[in-house]
Each structure stands twice: as structure tokens, then as C-alpha cells.
Symmetry: C2
């Protein structure tokens, strides 16, 4: 099993991630802190910090927000700690310390920690695991604590997390007197594995295993606890597949229900399978992840095609204009595929991770880093969104915050931790998963190796890795040949290296004795490509998406006029990529000749016999999907008709 390179060991210099991360570090993280403290005007109230103050007995007032409001703070702390892992910032350190101290003070003497239940339910804990989000919040606290410990070396928040985890381990389990519950929203599972890895305490891994395996058993715990609350088990909004709890995970064959819950659960299950060497559970995870990747994922890496239940629906049901594709769900897909790639390095997983990162994740945040999409459709017609109920979940402009504000701090922790996704190591050497201008200081074959990655990726396909080490050492450098490139050409110190026989599951394995200055050069052809969908994706038949390297493109009204679906991209039109340093913070755009259905021959009639179809020649400009909606509002379209 691979280990991701620690965050502090990787420094990025690329135009996408380094830029987004810098914006986060300089602006976004402080914006979010202010918002959590209700000092941002014109956005929905958070009250998340104030809730913790009330729970700590340091403020009067009533709880406000969702039962999981605490998690916004925890995710913010986690994100801030990831930033601090690479960059010293006294003012941010101060805020983190303030938050960590407050969290610690909100913890009850026995380890319990949750402001909603402490304030609203006056200590009546664990009465509603289905909807209460106590274990979900605990999981985010644990993740924050692990990040805090890694970034600061301080144990205070980690101790809070361990006390909470110990409390949970005492309450839940198959032992006598214990509740046989499990969370309505998974998250605790993966966090407990992280806590196990950080502390070495096997109890946490066992508890994670328990949660994975207890889920979905009969008699159903959510039924039991509902009856205990005096409610009918049927008085619920969603069936148990929404919670991935209709049957035990090992019996599930499709990735159903709420997309974020599904992929957080899957992430935890992959972790447990890996740590407990459970091939059967791993096979379940492979199967469920394959179902997502092969039947239920948008080309942007968006997942969850239904607003109702924020959930998966049926195989190949991927409507573009009603997509949900929650930002958090794409982040969860990154989490799950990243974990699977550590267990079995295979470009299929990292291809999906990269697809989600550059497209469906980044679309969730504005270039200036302070406005967010919760929902990431692939086709937008503002007039329909404002008049139709079935597209009312689609906001056509990014928002400063949300009543349910899971996405902004989730984006923050993803962007802050992006460095960890680039490299992994194991005893044999290093895996290069992602390409981005960067410098990494890794420990390989018993000693330090500095890897300088020079590349214009994702806008250019030439990657040069220069290794710096003292003396010589033998290890493997495994480079991912992205699926979008299909093949690459490799050279070592200027000499071509044949890929024959060295590529396994999409990674080129170079095993040799390395010495200082050795340079590996990977050339990935990066033409603009038309991508098609499996013919069962009804929404996309007769349409293509434009992709270049890992970047999925879209048409925007601001560049191409209104009524984008009337546009046809001829099958033989030349697609040209141009670097536009002035546009959208610097992007490569794609330009092409296109056709547009001509309205000029139409009178007042809505329908008429087909005439020789009149089209107008137009110039089309495609911009990266992730950057849409950063100029004036209007229509957007990913899948364009071809003909």
C-alpha cells in the first residue's frame, strides 16, 4: 500500500493549484473565518462559532443552523492546518489556536462534543443517528485534529479527538450494553482510520470496522431508535438506500443514495479494507466505485444526478440541465479514488480523481475564492432555472455562503491539501500521480530525494522531473500515463525509454539506480479532443464534450451568445487551443468554427415541416468548465451537438 507524500513535503508552482491555494491562503481562509463568525454581510448566517461558544457556556443564546453546523468549523480548522503545513502565518495560527481552544472548551467532561445536541437536546445524545449527524461531526473533528497535530505538532486538539473517539467507542459496538448504531451520514469511519494511523491505537480501527459492518443489518437500527423516540420508523423522508443502509455494504452492488454519504462511506471502507487486509471488502469497494465511474459520473467528475436526496439515481441517468453534482460529492469522489489508488495504483482511479479535481471540484469556487457553487450543472439556462421548480436547485451564479454550508470549507480543505495528491511512496519508490510544476522532498530508499517537476500542465503535456539526491540509490519512479493521453513518450537524461513492458495499470515503472540530476521527461500529446458518452447516456447522444488534457470545456453565453443548444460543432471543424493569459486568471481556450440554427427564417410558428435547415456560421469559444460563471451571468453548455 502506498502512502501519500506528506503535505509539507510538496510545494506547488503551477498556474492552477498553486494559484487557487495562494488565493485561499491570502484571502479565502480568512473570508470563511469571518463568515463562520457572522461578520460577513449579505450572506446567510452561519452561527457556527457562536454555537460552540454557547455549548461551552461562554455565550447565551440559542443554537442556529443545521445539526451539523459544527462541522463547518472543523473543516475550516482542517483546511487552515493544511495551509500552515506549508506556510508559516502567525495570524492564521492565531485563529486556529482560538478555534481549537474553543472546541476543546465545548467538549463535555466525558468526551462528548456536539453543540447542537448539547444546546438543543440538553444532553439527550445519540437519540437519532439517522438524522442527527453527531458521528458525522465527530468525524470532521477527528480529521481536523489529525491535521492540526501534523501541522503544529501540538497534541491538544488530538487529545480532544481521542477523548471523543474513546467516548464513541464506549457507546457503540456489539458489546454488552452498547448501542448497535451507525451514522446516518458516514464520515466517522474514514476519520477513525486516520486517527488510528496518527495514534497507532487499534481501538479506532476496530470501531471503524464495526461501523462499516453494522450498517444495514436487520432489525434495522434506525427503526429501533425511531420507535424509542416514539416515532414511526416510516415517518422519514428517504428510504434507507439514501443512507446506504438498506442492506449491509458487502451486499450492495450499486452505489445508491446520497452521493456524499455514499462516497464518504466508500472512502472509509477502502481504508478499513486496506488496514485490515480484507480482500472481500476491497472487492466490494472496487465494484461500487466501478459502478460510479462506469455508469454514474458526469464527464466533469460530478456525481449525484438528482437534486431530490442529492443522490444517485439509475445507471446512465445523467441529465445535464438537472444535474446536482454537489461540489462536496466531487470532493468525495476525489477522496475515494485517491484512497483506492493507494491500495492498488491504477491510472483508472487517478484519471477520475484528476477529472474531478480540475473540473467538478474547481467549478465549485470562484476565481477570487469567496463565492461558491453547491450544485454544478453541465447545462444552464437561467430563465428555466428561475421559472421551473425542477431546476430551482441550480443557482446560476456562485454564492457567498449557504444555509447548508458544507461545500465552502470542504473546498478549502481540498485545495489546501492538494499537494498530498501528487506523489505517493512505498518501499520501492515513488508514484507520480499528478503533474504540476512543483518541488517535493521525499524519502526514498533510505534517503532524501528532491524532485523538481517542471511542466506547464494542465495546459501543456511536457513534464520534466529532475531528481536530486546525494550519491546513488536504487528505487522506482512510477509515472502515470493519463488515460486521456492514452500513451506518452518517455526519455531519461535525453535518451528515449521504451514503454514496452514497463507500463502496468497505466503507470510506467522506471526502476534503476538514480543519481543527482537524473532527468525524466514525459511527453503527453495534448490535442483538443471531442469526447463522446456511452450511447445509453440519453442526454448526450449526438453530442460531444470538448476536452484537452484533463480539462473539460464548456460554452458560455458571454462568448457565444444565447441559446447555446442551437449550436452545432461540425464533426470535422478544426479545434484550436490558445493560451489566453488575460482571461479567467490565465487559461487555454479552445476555438472552432461552428454552426448555429438560424432563427431568421422563422415567423410566429412554433412548429413547421422541416425545410432545408438554415444555419449561420459562427466562431465558438470554449473555456474551461471549472471557470464558467466568473464573468457576466448567462447560459452554459458542456455537451454540444455534433453533426
Amino acid at each position: 500500500m502506498l502512502t501519500p507524500a506528506p503535505l509539507h513535503s510538496v510545494r506547488l508552482y503551477d498556474t492552477v493549484w498553486a494559484s487557487r491555494r495562494r488565493t485561499l491562503r491570502e484571502t479565502g481562509i480568512f473570508y470563511q473565518w469571518e463568515t463562520l463568525n457572522d461578520r460577513t454581510s449579505g450572506v446567510p448566517r452561519s452561527h457556527a462559532i457562536e454555537n460552540l461558544r454557547i455549548a461551552a457556556g461562554e455565550a447565551d443564546g440559542v443554537f442556529y443552523g443545521r445539526p451539523f453546523q459544527d462541522s463547518d468549523v472543523y473543516k475550516w480548522v482542517e483546511a487552515a492546518c493544511y495551509l500552515l503545513a506549508t506556510d508559516h502565518d502567525p495570524s492564521l495560527e492565531q485563529l486556529v489556536a482560538e478555534a481549537a481552544d474553543l472546541i476543546a472548551r465545548a467538549q463535555l467532561p466525558d468526551g462528548y462534543l456536539n453543540s447542537y445536541f448539547t444546546i438543543v437536546h440538553q444532553g439527550r445524545r445519540w437519540i437519532n443517528l439517522r438524522d442527527g449527524h453527531e458521528l458525522y461531526c465527530a468525524g470532521h473533528l477527528i480529521e481536523a485534529a489529525v491535521a492540526h497535530f501534523a501541522a503544529t505538532g501540538r497534541r491538544d486538539l488530538l487529545d480532544v479527538a481521542c477523548r471523543l473517539a474513546d467516548h464513541i467507542a464506549s457507546v457503540f459496538g456489539a458489546g454488552p450494553g452498547q448501542k448497535r448504531g451507525y451514522p446516518g451520514h458516514p464520515e466517522i469511519e474514514l476519520s477513525l482510520v486516520r486517527l488510528y494511523r496518527a495514534t497507532g491505537n487499534r481501538r479506532y480501527l476496530d470501531l471503524a470496522s464495526y461501523f462499516i459492518d453494522e450498517r444495514g443489518r436487520h432489525p434495522h437500527y434506525y427503526d429501533l431508535e425511531a420507535r424509542e423516540r416514539g416515532e414511526s420508523p416510516d415517518a422519514r423522508r428517504f428510504d434507507y438506500s439514501y443512507y446506504q443502509a438498506h442492506v449491509p455494504l458487502r451486499q450492495q452492488t450499486k452505489m445508491d443514495g446520497h452521493a456524499v454519504r455514499a462516497l464518504y462511506l466508500l472512502s472509509g471502507a477502502i481504508d478499513v479494507a486496506a488496514e485490515t487486509s480484507d480482500p472481500q471488502l476491497l472487492e466490494v469497494c472496487r465494484r461500487l466505485l466501478a459502478n460510479v465511474i462506469e455508469q454514474r459520473m458526469y464527464v466533469t467528475g460530478g456525481v449525484g444526478s438528482s437534486a431530490w436526496g442529492e443522490r444517485f439515481t439509475a445507471d446512465y441517468d445523467l441529465p445535464n440541465d438537472r444535474a446536482y453534482a454537489e461540489t462536496c460529492a466531487s470532493i468525495a469522489l476525489v477522496m475515494a479514488t485517491h484512497r483506492m489508488a493507494q491500495v492498488e495504483p491504477d491510472r483508472r482511479y487517478v484519471d477520475v480523481m484528476e477529472r474531478a479535481l480540475y473540473n467538478g471540484v474547481l467549478s465549485g469556487i470562484s476565481l477570487e475564492g469567496t463565492r461558491f457553487f453547491y450544485v454544478n450543472p453541465l447545462e444552464v439556462w437561467p430563465e428555466a432555472c428561475s421559472t421551473r421548480h425542477d431546476t430551482r436547485h441550480i443557482l446560476t451564479q456562485r454564492q457567498g455562503w449557504f444555509d447548508c454550508a458544507c461545500c465552502p470549507p470542504n473546498l478549502a480543505r481540498l485545495i489546501a491539501s492538494i499537494g498530498q495528491y501528487v506523489y505517493s511512496t512505498d518501499d520501492s519508490g515513488v508514484y507520480v500521480h499528478l503533474y504540476a510544476a512543483s518541488e517535493a522532498r521525499l524519502h526514498l530508499a533510505g534517503g532524501p530525494v528532491r524532485i523538481v517537476q517542471e511542466t506547464g500542465y494542465p495546459w501543456a503535456g511536457t513534464i520534466q522531473l529532475r531528481l536530486h539526491l546525494s550519491g546513488t540509490r536504487t528505487f522506482t519512479v512510477a509515472l502515470r500515463i493519463p488515460g486521456w493521453a492514452r500513451e506518452g513518450s518517455l526519455s531519461l537524461n535525453g535518451h528515449p525509454v521504451s514503454l514496452d513492458g514497463v507500463v502496468y495499470r497505466g503507470y510506467a515503472y522506471l526502476t534503476r539506480t538514480w543519481s543527482d540530476g537524473d532527468t525524466v521527461r514525459l511527453e503527453l500529446a495534448m490535442p483538443v479532443e471531442r469526447v463522446e458518452s456511452h450511447p445509453r447516456v440519453r442526454a448526450n447522444v449526438g453530442r460531444v464534450a470538448i476536452q484537452r488534457g484533463p480539462i473539460v470545456y464548456c460554452l458560455e453565453e458571454v462568448d457565444n451568445g444565447p441559446n447555446l443548444p442551437a449550436i452545432v460543432l461540425p464533426a470535422d471543424s478544426d479545434l484550436r487551443a490558445h493560451w489566453r493569459p488575460d482571461l479567467l486568471g490565465g487559461v487555454t481556450v479552445v476555438e472552432s468554427a461552428g454552426l448555429r440554427a438560424d432563427e431568421s427564417g422563422w415567423g410566429s410558428e412554433l412548429y413547421r415541416p422541416v425545410t432545408r435547415s438554415r444555419t449561420t456560421q459562427v466562431r465558438l469559444t470554449f473555456v474551461p468548465y471549472a471557470t464558467w460563471g466568473n464573468r457576466q451571468p448567462g447560459e452554459m453548455l458542456v455537451w454540444v451537438r455534433t453533426g
Copy 2:
């Protein structure tokens, strides 16, 4: 202004309407009676008859159903009377008498009649015009009474209606002490004009005028009555445009809100404009109807593209798979266009009426006449309908009844009264709006004329009208040249008649001195045509619908396999019509060569760079849209991709 030929004067022999009407007369009307009496198993409870019994003090029990449950009975009576107008049937007469007597007994001494308010609100009347449907139910009672009087010559139900209308006229109006209310669901307006025409009592026309003009004024009546109920005016589900009450009708420029309400209101407004010779109101009606026809109508004559609010949305927003297109809304479109055609004969209105009749109306009822669609989508994928929330309103199989059962009796009264849509007369002669094998006995230019119409319409385009009269008389026969035909060729007693100069607004006017046996022959070329949508209809760009004559076609899974959107109809493929007497009660099908995206080259990938697209040649069979879903369940598609 024209007058539709009375129902008893027209007897149909065609394969569509005569057949549907016979099924209704022999089976359907009794099925509905049994259902209204809760004697049909396996369908939602109606309780509509029982509610009236309880209101009449003849049964114990509590009200069940919607506030407008009475209207199901009224519409049933109206339908039954239309059947009795042409066909003697003692058993049906007996049921009608039974129903009429019950209704009369449920009326209160002062004329008030409504079982819901009588039972549930203990006489607290008119407290909620916005949602209460009292005036709506009254309107349907009045329509039933007018039909009952016409069919039976008995005044008893008409007297009930007059007492109710008189009571309403005393309660509502601009006079001192009167309520300045108007109905949440229009219907009373058009019914009052019918009552005026049946009785000659101008008070009813004035009241209809009042309701039309009071609507939408400020301060808003729905606000006032809400406050009187002690509710906030804002505690409502829909904005006032849902009720077409956001501004007065004369200020409205778009046909907004709930489609049935909108078109019932429009029908009443056309009636009022015609009877009061109000050119300004008529111009408003023209404008609003044009908005429906030119921007907001499906090719099937379906209207209302949003399930939420069963309503109109934005111009050109006509998604096929999420269509609402309620059966009642298409019926309402028939009502509105038929009325407008009486005021100003123009084929544009009758073209739409015919489109709705043969497609979006008839699709609402199964061939055996006892199962119904409330919603009429133009694209159906059963798997999405069962897993997605935004298509859950789409039932993929017709149902035996509904909790909200407006459509079945509305279909019954439409089908029962179809004869009245064929001819209209005025002082100058006769208008032939629709073509159908039939015999009509009309009164023209002072004497009786029998018109025998021989045609295989809608499956064939040859129509022969033979006139029978004693002596000679001079009058006009105006024949509609349907818009789908664009032109026709006409002959009189075997001699060609030039259409030059005799066609006005799509009607060919033949004015001459007619004598017995004179024969007019109209030849309408009836090729299979590909129809395209205005390019702003996003859902249909790059797609065509198949139409032949007035019949819109669709693909069904049973004929063409699953995944219908993967099918392409090549632009040059030959479309052949075949009469299939064995199929669906006898229909002309359309067959063609087609292409189908080939899945065989696909592995597990969901997306891939475009390869030379592989397609399979297939034979396509299109069946009339109205007959879909009469065989095994499955997918359906109207707009097929072209290329």
C-alpha cells in the same frame, strides 16, 4: 359570430371519434359512474356521489376527497347528457336522472350547492375563493345543467343551476354589501355565458363579465380574504400568477400559471368578449392565446410544461421528458381555440384544436376507455420515472382513476361532445372545421340541409361532402384547408374549383346556389412529414417529430427496442405510411429505415474520444402518439434525432 352545430345534429362514423365515443357510450360512462359510486376495485376512492348524499342529509359520514370532488359528478352528468343527445339509452337516462335528483337534493334552500363546504365547513361559505373551488364546482354544475336541458328538455337541473347562479350573483359583485371576489380556478365565467345563452338572462352574462374584470385588482381579494381567515396572505403555495390573478387580465401579456385555469379563464373571456362585443378584451384573448400557440405548446397540443403548479413556465421551455401537459389542459386548449374560431374563423385556431384533439387529448385515455393519463409526456424512460423525483409525476402506464380525478370525466364530456366541433353555422352558411365521416342535419339559409361527409380522415386526405336539400338555396360552405396540408384541391360536382381568391384565413369559401346532391370534394395531400421546432425550443434542436395529417407519431420500445434516444432518423430516409387494421384498433403506422448508435464497440468506459461513430441500421415503426402505452409498458419518444 358562428354557432357550433348542435350535438344532436351530427352523427359521426369515422374510425377515431365514432369509435372512441361508442366505447365511452357502451362502457366508459358506466365505468366512471361505478367509480364515482366507489364500486370499482383497485382504484383510488372517489366518494363523490357519497359526498353529495351526505350533503343532502341522506347519508352519514364525513366528506372525502378534494374540495372540488363534486365537479367529477357534474362533468359526468354533462358527458352522459351529450351521449343522450344523440343516442337513446334508458339505463343511462336512469343514472342521469338519479344523479340530477341527488344534486337537486344537495342544494340548500337559498341556492347554495357544494358538498365540501356544506359538510366540512358547516355552512361557512366563500371563505377561501383562492383555494376553495366553490365557484369552480358551480361552473361545472351549470355546464351539466345546460347540457341536461339540451339533451332531455327537462328544466329541473337547469333550475338548480339558475338558483345557484342567482345566489352567486347576489353574493358577488361591485354592489353594496357584495363580496368583490372571484374564483381561484376559473370555470364559472364560461359556464355563466352558457347559462345566459340557454336562458337569455343577461344577469348571468354580467356576472361573468364582473368575474373577468375583477380578477387581479388591488387591493388583492385573496389577500383580504386570507386576513379575514386570520391567515397571512403570504402563507400560500403559489404566487398569484398561478391563478392568473397577479394583474387584471387585460394587462396580461403572457399566458402564465396553472394551464387549465389559464385556458378556462381565457375561454370565459372569449365568450364574454364575444357576447359583449368588447374588441379590447378580444384583443387580449388573441394575444394570450397566441402566446400559448406560438411559444408554449407541445407539438401534441399539450400545454403546461412544469409539474410544479401544473403550469406554464417560460417561452420555448418545452422539455419532453418532464412535460406536464395535463389531459385537462389540452381539453382546455380545445375549448379556448374552438371558442376563438367561432368569433373569428381562422384555421390557425382550428389547426391547434385539431392538433390537441387527435394527440394530447386522446393520449389521455386508453383504447378500451377505462384507463387514463393525467400527464402526457413526449419522452418516457420508465427507469428515470421510477428513480428521479423530477419525473415522478410521469406515470408510464394509464391508471384506472386518480385521487384528483379531473381528467377522466373531462375526457368523457369532450369525447361525448366531439360532434359539435365539426360544423358551425351562421347566417351565411356553414363552416366545416373538422373532417370525419359523418352525417349532419343543419339549418342553412332558412331550411334543412343534410351534409354527408365521406372520408377516411385522419388516415386519408380525401373528403367528399354531399349536400342534400329540397329545392335550391344560396349559402356558403366554408371548408378549412388545414395548416398541415398548406393547400388543397377542390372540386364541385367533379369540376375543379380554383382556390384563388376564395381562401380567407385558411377557409375556402364556396358561395353559390346549392341543390340536392351537390358534391364538394377536397383533396388534401397527406405525406408523412418531418416537423421541426423553433430553434429556441432547446429540447428539440436537431430533432424532428413525425406527423401525417393531424396525427403526431412516436416511437415505442415495444416496436423499436430500448434506449430510443440512441436512434437517428436520417434526413433522407423514406417514410412510409401503412394502414394496420390489426394494430391499436386500426391505425396508420409510419415505417422508415433508421440508425441506432451501436453499443457493441463500448467496453466499461463511460466516456471516450470520439471514434468513427458506429451505427446499426434498423427499421423504425412510428405509431400515433395518442395510442402509445396501449401495449406492453416501456419507453416512448416523439422527438427523434435527425442527421
